[in-house]
Amino acid sequence: MTNVRSYTFRHFSVYRGTAEYDGELVSYTVPVASGMVVLDALHWIQANVAPDLAVRWNCKAAKCGSCSAEVNGRPSLTCKTRLSDLPADQPIRVEPMRTFPLIKDLVTDVSWNYEVNRSIVPFSPSPDAPEEAWRWRQEDIERVQEYRKCIECFLCQDICHVLRNHETKTPFMGPRFLVRVAGLELHPMDRADRTKYLKNDGGIGYCNITKCCTEVCPEHIKITDNAIIPLKERVADTYYDPVQVLWRLVTRRPPAGGNGA
C-alpha cells in the first residue's frame, strides 16, 4: 500500500474584510494534493496562516449547502469545486456571495432568506383525508422530490440578477423559495393556494427566465423549467386568463386563492 502525495503549490486570492472595514483580496500560497477542493485550501489557510479566516462549512460533501462563495466569480460550493478544474495559470479568487450583506471574509448575512421562508404558508394537508389518499405512485411524486433536493446553499439567490443588482423596490422571493413553493403546491396532499402570495409578496413576475439559477444549482434542480415556469403559469391562469377575468367581473368575485392561510 502506498500513499502517493505529490504536492504542488497554488496561489489563492481570498477576500478578507468585515462589514465595517473595506476588505481586500489577500494572497496565500497553498500546497495542494490530488483531488483537493477549494474548501480544503481554505482549511489549510486557517490551520497554518490565518486562523481567524471566516468560512462557513459543515458536511464537506455537498449535502448541507453551507460553504457557498464565489470562486473565480462563479457562485459555487467550495466543498465540491476541485482545484484541478480551475485554470492553473492564475490565482484562484475566492470571494463572498455578493448578493448578501458581508459579515466577515467569506461569511455573509443570509438571514433575509429565513425571513422569506417564514412568510410562506406551510404544508397544509386536509385534516380529514382518508388513509388511502396518502398512497402515491412513485412517478407522481418524483417532481416534488426534485424540488425537495434543495440544500439551501442560496447560490441561486446569489446569481439571480433581480436580487444581485437589487433591481426591485418591492420584494422578490428568489428562485430558492419559488422552488419551495412549487414543492408545496405540487404535493399531492397540500390544499393551500399560494397564487396571490406568489404574485404580490413573492413578486414572481420579476423573474424573466434567464435560467442563471438553474446553471449554478449544485443539486441540478431544473429551477426555471420545472419550478418557476409552472408557477408562473398558475399565476397567469388565475390573474390574466381573459375568461376568468370576465367571469370575475360578471360575478364580482375576487381572484381565487388568497394567501391560502
Partner: protein, 603 residues
C-alpha cells in the same frame, strides 16, 4: 449584571441546544404544549448533521416485509448492540418509530414509494427485514427540512450561530445556558426552566471521520461539567465505508445503502472477504453462497421478497469495520489503504436512481463512476453510542432540569448501533424529551435569574485565549488530539495504547490551558475551536478511560488483549462522572430486562 457588563438574555420555559433532528423534534413537541421554546444552534438552521444522513430511518412499518414487527426490530437492535442497550429505550424505540415516521409524512416529508403506494423500505445491516424508510440516499435532508419547516411554522425562537460553553446550575438544578454569538463573539445567556441537549456526537476528535466540525462533543462535555453522568463512552462507531481517496475526502461517508442495494466488498485479490468474518452464532442469518446472495439482490432490486438470505456485507457495522481493517493490515488492501465496494454489476440506471448522491459524490470528488467500477473505501469515525445517562421514558439526565436526546444521549444503542436506528432514535426520543421537559418546566413556576458570579466567570473564560501571551495555536493541539485518538483509541485497542493515550491527553490538556488566539472575537474560527477543543478533550479522555476499564471485546469496542466477550462485563455499563477536578470511571449493573422481552431476544 452586577458589574454592568452587557450581555443579552433570552429566557424560555424550555431551551433546546442543537437543531438537528432530535433538537427540532423536541422543540416541536415542547412548542405544541404552548410553552415558550428557544432553539440554539452552532450553524445556520437546517445545516445540522442530520442533513448528512443518507440511508434511511428504521421503523417496523411492515410495508415491504409484512411479517416485520416492533418485536423483531427490538430483537435486532438488542442483538446489534450486543445486549448492552438500555432495554426499555430499545423497546420504546421499536414501538414508537413507525408512528414517528408516519407523522413526518403528515408534516410533508415525501418518502420513496412501494408499488402499492406506501412508504418504501430498504434492507440494512443487522436488520432482519427491509425496514428503512428513505428518500434515495438523502433521507436526512428530507427529515431535517420537514422538521425545520414545522418548527418555523410553530413560531419557535431560533438562535443561529450561537455556541454554548456552560450550563448554568443553581441548587443542584439546571437553570439555563451560557454561550456566545459566533458572529460577534459577544456573550449571551438563556435562562430556562428545563434544558434539552441535542448536540450530536464527538467525531471531530478523530482524524478520519464522517462528521462535520460541529461534532465536538459539546453536549457531552456540558453535561459532564455540570455534574451529570455519562455512560458507555468506550463505544465509538467506526462506519465501515468512508471514502479513502483523494486525501481531501478521506473519511467522507459512503452510505450503507450501497450494501443494502447489493454492494459487494472485495480485497485487492478480488476475494469476497466478508464470508470469512461472519460471527458463527449469526452465520445462519446470512446467505451461504454467492449464488444465494445474488438471488437476494435480484429479488431486492425487483422489489420482491425471496427465500434467499441476505449477503454477508450486511453484517453489523462493528464487524464489517474490523474485517476491512484486518484485510488492509494483513496486506490485502487497495492502493490507498482501503478495500473495494462494488455495485457496478447492477444496471447503471438502477444505481443512479437508488444512490443518486453517491453517484454524484464519487463522480465529482473522486473521478470514479460507480456504475462502471468499484469504490475504494475504508472505516471512518461515525457515531457515538455513549452519552448522557438518561431515563428511558423521559430522557431526563441525572441532573434535574437537564434532558438529552439523539446521539448525545447514551444507552439506546448499546455497544453498536444499527444503521437507520439513529434517525428513528432522534424522532422517538426527541419527542419524548420535548414532552418531559414541558412537564418539568410546569412544576418549576419561575425562570431563575442567572447567577451573576457564574456568568462573570464564564465571560472571563471567553476572553482568556486572547490574553495568553506565549501560548499555542488551537489548530496544532487539535491536530495532535486527532492523531492520538486515531492511532491509540481506534478500532483495535490495547492496554498499552490506551494508557499512552491517557498520558498524551493529559499533556494536550496542559497545552490547552495556554491556548492562544489572535484577531477579534467576531466570526473567528480559531477562537471558536478553543472551546470545541475543550469539549473534545473531555470526551476523548472519557473514551480512553472507559475503554481501558472494559477488559473485554464487545460491539464497537475491540481489545486485542481481551479478544473475547466477558460474562461479567456483559452485565455492566461504564459510567463517567466529574468528581471534584477528577474524571471518575466505574461500572454499574445494567437494568434487568423483563422475562417476556428476554424471550424475544433469545429466539
Amino acid at each position: 449584571m452586577s458589574d454592568g457588563e452587557a450581555f443579552e438574555t433570552y429566557p424560555h420555559d424550555v431551551l433546546v441546544i442543537g437543531a438537528g433532528g432530535a433538537g427540532l423534534r423536541a422543540a416541536i413537541e415542547a412548542a405544541s404544549a404552548g410553552v415558550s421554546v428557544g432553539l440554539v444552534c452552532k450553524s445556520l438552521l437546517g445545516k445540522a448533521h442530520t442533513v448528512m444522513a443518507e440511508g434511511g430511518v428504521a421503523a417496523a412499518l411492515a410495508n415491504v416485509a409484512e411479517a416485520d414487527s416492533w418485536q423483531i426490530h427490538f430483537r435486532d437492535t438488542m442483538v446489534g448492540g450486543k445486549m448492552l442497550n438500555n432495554w426499555r429505550m430499545a423497546q420504546l424505540h421499536a414501538q414508537e418509530a413507525p408512528e414517528r415516521v408516519r407523522e413526518l409524512e403528515r408534516w410533508g416529508a415525501v418518502f420513496d414509494r412501494t408499488r402499492d403506494g406506501r412508504i418504501l423500505q430498504r434492507p440494512f445491516g443487522g436488520h432482519t427485514n427491509p425496514r428503512l424508510a428513505h428518500v434515495g440516499d438523502r433521507t436526512g435532508l428530507e427529515m431535517i427540512r420537514t422538521l425545520q419547516d414545522r418548527a418555523v411554522a410553530a413560531g419557535i425562537s431560533v438562535y443561529m450561530e450561537c455556541t454554548m460553553t456552560r450550563l448554568l446550575t443553581d441548587d443542584g438544578r439546571v437553570t439555563g445556558a451560557f454561550g456566545y454569538w459566533r458572529i460577534t463573539g459577544k456573550p449571551v445567556v438563556f435562562p430556562a426552566k428545563a434544558v434539552i441537549l441535542a448536540t450530536g456526537g464527538i467525531g471531530r476528535a478523530y482524524q478520519i471521520t464522517s462528521n462535520s466540525w460541529e461534532y465536538s462533543g459539546d453536549g457531552h462535555a456540558l453535561a459532564y461539567g455540570a455534574g451529570a453522568e455519562l455512560i458507555d463512552m468506550e463505544f465509538v462507531q467506526f462506519h465501515p465505508t468512508g471514502m479513502v481517496w483523494p486525501p481531501g475526502v478521506r473519511g467522507l461517508l459512503v452510505t450503507e445503502a450501497v450494501r443494502g442495494e447489493g454492494g459487494i466488498l472485495r480485497n485487492r485479490d478480488g476475494d469476497r472477504f466478508m464470508w470469512s468474518y461472519l460471527p458463527d452464532d449469526r452465520r445462519q442469518e446470512y446467505a451461504a453462497t454467492d449464488e444465494e446472495a445474488s438471488r437476494w439482490v435480484e429479488a431486492q432490486s425487483a422489489g420482491k421478497t425471496s427465500d434467499a438470505r441476505r449477503p454477508p456485507e450486511l453484517s453489523t457495522r462493528d464487524n464489517v469495520s474490523r474485517a476491512i481493517y484486518t484485510e488492509v493490515r494483513e496486506g490485502r488492501g487497495s492502493e490507498h489503504g482501503g478495500v473495494f465496494l462494488d455495485i457496478s454489476y447492477l444496471p447503471p440506471d438502477h444505481v443512479r436512481r437508488k444512490l443518486p448522491s453517491m453517484y454524484e459524490q464519487f463522480k465529482e470528488l473522486a473521478d470514479v463512476d460507480i456504475t462502471t467500477g468499484p469504490m475504494e473505501i475504508g472505516p471512518t469515525t461515525h457515531y457515538m453510542m455513549g452519552g448522557v445517562r438518561v431515563d428511558a421514558e423521559t430522557e431526563a439526565s441525572t441532573l434535574p432540569g437537564l434532558f438529552a436526546a439523539g446521539e448525545v444521549a447514551g444507552g439506546m444503542h448499546g455497544a453498536n448501533r444499527l444503521g437507520g436506528n439513529s434517525l428513528s432514535d432522534l424522532l422517538v426520543f426527541g419527542q419524548r424529551a420535548g414532552a418531559a421537559a414541558v412537564a418539568f418546566a410546569a412544576e418549576n413556576a419561575k425562570v431563575r435569574e442567572p447567577d451573576a458570579a457564574r456568568v462573570k466567570e464564564a465571560t472571563d473564560e471567553l476572553a482568556a485565549p486572547f490574553e495568553e501571551a506565549a501560548g499555542e495555536d488551537p489548530y496544532r493541539i487539535h491536530a495532535d488530539l486527532q492523531a492520538t485518538m486515531q492511532s491509540l483509541v481506534g478500532i483495535f485497542r490495547t492496554r498499552e495504547d490506551l494508557e499512552e493515550a491517557i498520558d498524551r491527553l493529559a499533556g494536550l490538556r496542559a497545552r490547552w490551558q495556554r491556548v492562544r488566539v489572535s484577531g477579534s472575537p467576531a466570526y473567528n474560527p480559531g477562537w471558536n475551536l478553543t472551546f470545541e477543543l475543550r469539549s473534545m478533550l473531555i470526551c476523548s479522555e472519557a473514551v480512553a478511560r472507559s475503554a481501558l476499564q472494559r477488559t473485554e471485546s464487545r460491539g464497537a469496542h475491540a481489545r486485542v488483549d481481551f479478544p473475547e466477550a466477558d460474562a461479567d462485563w456483559a452485565r455492566c455499563n461504564s459510567t463517567v462522572t466529574l468528581d471534584g477536578e477528577v474524571m471518575r470511571v466505574s461500572a454499574e449493573p445494567l437494568p434487568e430486562m423483563p422475562a417476556e422481552l428476554r424471550g424475544l431476544v433469545e429466539h
